[in-house]
Symmetry: D2
């Protein structure tokens, strides 16, 4: 039964996600969905009572509900190898992502971090060094790449079914920050605060997902951009809306629209990729459909579970055709990919791994996107090069 | 911390769902999603090695991986109250649903059963007696009632927003049994076999979901029906397609279309309810939208997470607007409702319970629907009364 | 220039359609759209002043604005062959369709009649005799067969792309008669009056279009039916809602849903045709799209103007892809087909005729459908044969 | 009967539109649809035989089929006032729009011109002078403003239902020029030729419609723009794709996407207008629906013919709800508005005029848009002011 031991659940710790926190529940649902992850410890809250209550409700032993993340990493490292936490899920407010990740990696644990990886491009470059030096795995929840139809889109582009990509139209629009009243909420207050949110609100929170999606599906890299960020609602320091023109490294053009003041938009992430032979269209709010278009024949409605799909897409589905899977399943796929990476890492073998969780590369490009967009918006020049370090946020 | 103990995970056992079985994974994903259920034991397979492997992968102690369900119920009953299984999830082939449920109830355990509850109407009436005599909870996974927008629809009908319901159009169509080749599959073979599937294939497998959905949303009861069942593919004994005209107990009319030979249909469950003042339309493949229509003003696109919704709908959602939830989340809501029922049952209090899992009432009406539809189809008379026992399956 | 004379506009007269009448405008828009028809005379109204005003606004010479249809046929017949009306368009209330058509045919004119052809099945059988005896053309505006994508659907079924047709689901639902208040309107009052509307309201007005569409696209014939017609709104003699189960002459089954009390439905005519190999779906409210579905590959979104379509569909379009065509264009196609029939008739040649306008065959089947459905609804037997004459409207 | 004379058909002449020309048929269908326009003369083709044949097929007297437009204007001017052409419809290739319009206006005739009005901004400014000096009406077929739901959108913005407009996203994408092969076609060859098409292909042909639609619905004016035009297909001098960032005169931002190389796009014109209180979305390919969105309540599906709509929208519809109207009907509304303007002009009264056809103002802004976009694209500065004359096409 040796081969079964390797199938035992992976042991996860969590920093953040105490009772009353929203995103912790989503991460846990995603982690638990496939029955491959066991929550064994946590520093769920700065309130120890909250931490204990959270742990009890989750069947975490009280002795492994820690006062803070440093204690957790120290104590867990003392436990026998087959009992101690294998990776930590970081679901704290943003400014803690970097210090928690750094401590975990340096204590020998793998890290799955909520987005954004850090607050600045400088920090993420430092983080990349730490990942490398400690030879640990680092995952980042760019959730949307977890959808089966996004994987199918990536596969079809990579297989050349579109010909050369010539144009990308990507949008991520929401409406929830459309008025002053919206700022009262807990979610809004820190996102609009430069001290806690960093250089950008809209582009940092959601525009970066759109950029990630475009690069992920096409395997292209943004090389230059022209940006117009706006603070639509009076009194805001950070952007709540913006449009970015893009040049990719193959010469393709693109446009990225992002907004948090587009009244009535829920979570409108969508992408269209035009090639010389065909085009693809995907909308996150109807995630199980991928439309493939042609000039000279009918469009295809590619549906999860119908007909032959790529292995990456097929492996990312749990239900038969017509049983919709959604955001939590996509999120679970990110966790599932990370679990696979851990299993492979521990067995020193990469066999059977299809797709990888977004990691440190995506973390760097994401932070670079944010800082370059802000710089480009400040500039009076039309085009701004996409730099991977030392971006001048004030523009030229 | 007394109040927290009641929040500890509920302990579940499972009969069926060994490695290689499909529906067990769905049930477990649904059970695990919200972190409120712990799998503590199982009789996952008639192969003990499979049972052990399944248990190990799920962190179930080898000592609680049982050889069969009778052993499981006997042994678990001997464990201390705070350790032993609280309810059993039954995910076996259909003909075992009834005997497993019977044994579990008689051993003092609650039961969550996959659909259908039994093979015959007689059996389900017997089951109802057993549930009552043993004072245990019984849940049935009529999954589709777990969707938030189905709950919203139910709320709006009950609140009188449609006026009097006058017409219901409900459909559940699939295409996967459209040809002879499809019969080779494991799923198909037993469903087309009267010995294992009972009196009907299409109506028993999916038509019954449509009937349940119509009765659930409207709070009406089918009183009479006129049915035309067909075996479209040559050589089949059981129906693979059918249409049923309905009369409800308030005088409303309805039509129920169901098929497993409608090529290209994935899992096309949809319902429209027409009232004297407004109408509702819901489609399972786009489950987060509910359309409300009027004669004299624009239709409303009611969306999960947008604006004020009923408490039942709100409580059934995990994510903000625009983050699609799907089939597994709906399934998890059925489990979540059952967990709430167990907690309430154990604390002898019904406070806080919103919505109830489908149970023995739905089980009876479901088996009655199947047998009455078959009888109505055999009859040369147009209308057949909806009987709750002693249906003559051969028709008049 | 001989070949050009045959391209001169066809000369049309009109009975009905005076100022204030609705359907006359639609017929004229359809007739004028392609510039192939000239309105030369009319008996537009029983009010001669209205007739003259209508004629003047349409540039019809006052001398050819007639007091009644008998005068019109008599006087026009006296004019030189190259000046006199070639066909009459009948847009009167329903009870006049038959007498006007009869008089026109017997005076030597072709007839394009609004639907229904007559008030009873007996009348339409008599009309068929008159058409034959007088060797004139007879057209009936079953408008929906004029849509390009309906023609494409017909072509694909006929070409065997669906395999054998096994099931048809067709619906025509509206909501405008959902309450008593709606009866005050001019359109409603006669439709609900047996003396003026005949044996049925809902099935006679719109259900018959659905039946026609199903037979037209599949080239199948309804052989038996089981019907449940309802008068949902209190006090109505005629049906305002109904469902009909169908058996076609190849053994296929079908269901036809029709309603005028389905609140919020505008003009919801839709059809799905399931074959052994593929299925088609068309919705009149988005008429330029035809969906073709398969079990084992993605659905096709067949769009007007995109890729290779059948000659019948291509010939029925006026604009490039993405420039939507609608109801009036479909209506114009019916007129256009009739114009082609007239040109062919006059040149004694059938070359170049693609598609034919609905005619006396469709008129007979339509009236038979209405009378058989009413009889079937009255019957307590499940199935009723589709008779082409002598239907007993009271049922068995 | 004096009041009826004013209702007689308006007499139209046509320049261009001989047999074999496409756009002439569309203009004629639009002009004939409502029975308010009579074609009395034409210079349909430079081939006199083609001109005569075209005229004969349209029942135009051979004596009024002219050899060229100058002869037509001269001869028609000699006819009695109640017989001669009242306005000319110009459907020639683009380079003739200006000279024909100029000659017509100077001969005393109103002009309805196909788009674009001229080849350059200088020409259109000259044309505006001619219109003014000759006191004639000038109409331009910016067809898309003729749709009822565009009128409804305009009404709702003007009525303040959106609050302040803060963002506009407008797109007009097609795919038909995606490859070299496409250039062989007649339509493509002149559009890609600077000598015949002017300064831009994509922006001049369709981007200008998008700009017009944005300004029309919002009543805002573009004040500055940032443009990135691309010639995606090798060897093209003119743009076939581009994106433009916009600043409007109220401070709102916008983005305009236009393309002729977006494979699979048919005629994808769509617009979203975000205000502080609500948003609107309209898609030309489903033109009878207008979606109105809110942050705190369900979206409205505003449909042509359902509920109370603005007078401008209501007046622009010919059919009841659910009977789709399309492109030709929108085009006919432009002609209908122009007919109303002529009737009002001739009676020296503006009563009853709702909505005006696009005219010389739109012509000027359209040509300015084209030239400013090209200049902006050439510039290395991010923002370019929107100038109404003397644009430097080479950029700064």
């Amino acid at each position: 039964m040796t081969q079964d031991i390797k199938n035992r659940k992976i042991r996860m710790g969590m920093v953040g996600g105490g009772q009353g926190a929203f995103i912790g529940n989503i991460h846990r649902a995603a982690a638990f969905l496939d029955g491959e992850i066991e929550l064994v410890c946590g520093a769920f809250s700065s309130s120890h009572q909250n931490c204990l209550n959270t742990g009890m409700a989750l069947n975490v032993d009280a002795s492994r509900c820690y006062a803070n993340f440093n204690e957790m990493f120290t104590e867990e490292a003392k436990l026998p190898e087959d009992q101690r936490m294998q990776f930590v899920s970081i679901v704290t407010p943003n400014h803690l992502h970097f210090p928690v990740a750094k401590a975990a990696l340096q204590s020998g644990f793998h890290v799955m971090s909520d987005k954004p990886a850090t607050l600045t491009l400088d920090e993420v470059n430092e983080l990349a060094e730490i990942v490398k030096q400690n030879n640990r795995l680092y995952g980042l929840t760019h959730t949307y790449t977890g959808y089966p139809m996004v994987k199918e889109a990536h596969h079809r582009v990579a297989a050349g079914e579109l010909g050369d990509v010539v144009k990308v139209v990507v949008e991520y629009s929401q409406g929830w920050l459309a008025d002053k009243d919206s700022e009262a909420g807990k979610q809004a207050s820190w996102r609009l605060d430069p001290a806690r949110a960093g250089a950008s609100c809209c582009m940092g929170d959601i525009g970066v997902h759109a950029a990630n999606l475009a690069e992920h599906i096409t395997d292209l890299k943004i090389e230059a951009l022209c940006a117009d960020l706006t603070s639509v609602v009076d009194g805001r320091t950070l952007d709540d809306d913006g449009t970015v023109l893009l040049k990719f490294n193959n010469g393709a053009k693109g446009v990225l629209i992002s907004s948090q003041i587009s009244v009535g938009e829920e979570n409108n992430l969508s992408i269209r990729i035009y090639g010389t032979k065909a085009a693809l269209e995907w909308r996150q709010q109807e995630p199980n459909t991928l439309i493939m278009k042609f000039n000279d024949k009918p469009s295809l409605m590619i549906r999860a579970g119908v007909g032959e799909l790529s292995p990456a897409a097929t492996q990312a589905m749990r239900t038969p055709a017509g049983h919709p899977e959604g955001y939590i399943e996509a999120f679970a796929n990110i966790y599932g990919q990370f679990v696979q990476q851990i299993r492979t890492f521990e067995q020193n073998s990469a066999e059977g791994v299809v797709g990888n969780a977004p990691g440190i590369t995506e973390a760097i490009r994401g932070m670079a996107f944010i800082e370059n967009v802000v710089a480009a918006s400040h500039s009076s020049e039309k085009w701004h090069p996409f730099l991977l370090s030392n971006v001048n946020l004030a523009g030229e």
